[in-house]
Symmetry: C2
């Protein structure tokens, strides 16, 4: 555990995950203020909006500016402009995903930044290490939102990745309470990344109807769907049932793409359309029963590190 904490200069080895529509300046700043890595999700922002969020977060952070991170899905069309914005604003921690780690790692390392890449297999983790990243997030099948194709769960993925690389491994997927943090470290992880649980905080920008839907969700109410297009874990609603029906009938990638259309994620998670919106959330939603402040959550998580 020490290597990760030293490298990133923090006390609790926890990352609040960058998430589309849910993790803006407010959430990331609150996380950094509590001594964990707070991440702005750039995937739902253009470069102007990203710039605003970074600046706002930096103003909200009373100390720990070095703990502000940005998550960049590399498939974003304006990715280079986004990276430049974050570089110019002095962001230290770059978390990249959904693309090759070979693309920007060297460039960012040459700029003196810490780079973490998200992977869902031991094979890709090795590729990340070879590309020169400082750490990898290994994300299991139970995670919300976009997900890997081989469906390996956190319980199996973490030991596989730990066996395969020498850099710190950050466990993600299915982690939302102290017992799960402890389990992740038992599996060999140096740190954990937590997403879904932070969606249901005061500081998250998720629509309150989406937060309530997560609180009311029973166990087993998420499903990994859209496997022929881009696998994504969604909370059960009218939209997810429509996808399931199409998939069960053998729909093609193109048919799924058409159903997905545009702005479904914004509609669900930011605008609160619980019927027709895309509600990205992890399996751990079945264990989330209330809205908390980031301060309260991190206090709970701290218990995982005490005897």
């Amino acid at each position: 555990m020490n290597k990760f904490r030293e490298l990133f200069n923090l006390d609790l080895p926890i990352i609040q995950a960058g998430m589309v529509w849910c993790s803006g300046a407010k959430l990331a700043a609150a996380s950094a203020n509590e001594g964990i890595i707070g991440t702005i999700g750039a995937g739902s922002m253009n470069k102007e909006l990203l710039d605003k969020h970074i600046l706002k977060a930096q103003n909200l952070i009373s100390k720990n500016n070095h703990l502000l991170a940005v998550n960049f899905p590399l498939l974003y069309h304006d990715i280079e402009a986004q990276l430049k914005v974050a570089l110019d604003r002095g962001i230290k921690i770059f978390i990249t995903s959904a693309g090759s780690p070979n693309k920007y790692t060297k460039f960012l390392k040459d700029e003196g930044r810490l780079v973490i890449h998200v992977c869902s297999s031991a094979r890709l983790a090795k590729k990340c290490e070879n590309a020169g990243v400082d750490a990898v997030v290994a994300e299991g099948f139970e995670a919300g939102g976009h997900n890997g194709r081989n469906e390996t769960t956190t319980m199996v993925l973490i030991p596989e990745v730990v066996n395969n690389v020498n850099i710190p491994v950050i466990a993600a997927g299915g982690i939302g309470q102290a017992s799960q943090i402890r389990a992740a470290h038992a599996l060999g992880a140096s740190a954990v990344q937590i997403g879904s649980r932070f969606v249901v905080t005061e500081e998250s920008s998720a629509h309150h109807e989406f937060k309530n839907a997560i609180i009311n969700a029973s166990p087993g109410m998420t499903k990994l769907l859209m496997k022929k297009y881009i696998p994504v874990r969604l909370l059960e609603n009218k939209f997810s049932k429509d996808i399931q029906e199409l998939e069960s009938a053998g729909a093609s990638k193109e048919e799924l793409k058409t159903l997905l259309g545009k702005q479904r994620a914004k509609r669900g998670m930011l605008d609160g359309d619980l019927d027709q919106g895309e509600l990205e959330i992890g399996q751990v939603s079945g264990l989330i029963n209330n809205i908390k402040t980031v301060k309260e959550l991190v206090q709970e998580f701290r218990l995982a590190y005490q005897e």
Copy 2:
């Protein structure tokens, strides 16, 4: 942890899982001799064969006869005759699965036996507790062979079940080495059930070609298939690819049933037909690299319980 160990009178709270075609007398007896619960899988036996295996196991066990268990998939047509055989031979631990816990729990408890039921959701676990079982196995999505429909992984399922019942919870799915045992206990499990790792032992009755296929399997090479019929996790081979192709095209339950046909599991796991046989194994197969004796394995697992 104490409650389970006291109830079952054992040192290490580990169950060697009952598995079709792999866990006969030899494996179960070797496990019991090492101080863990050793389970004969009755799912692939008629009552005469089951009787032979129980008798043989009892002869092979030098001590710890109370640790010999039998696993009964309740959907088996001759289930009552099977239960009678085990009762008559003095089996103490009955592990039931694939059916309602209300069916035989009271009957078995009245006969003075310990009853464990296998479940894959917090809801079913509560039903098991109400039916009067002594403990539940909570089995995650990563487990080999037949599996639940809601795809909840061990990381999420164990806390859900632990929250929902007061009886001991046995974690299963994705557990094959000491770090994973530690993780399961961190999640709140009182014990663990381990299947796949025991398939690849000297004492398992799996065909040596099947054992070698598991050893050679890379991470990510199993898949949960047959979801429209009975979900089952299989190692990738010609047969599993045929299923995937059919499913991708929207095949019906009947078409899948026809492809499955009869005796596919025996053909794969006992007869070693790696092309056309059904190879039931868990995700943890990606972490299994050698054949061990049960004694060696249990020695390794013991490390999970030391500081």
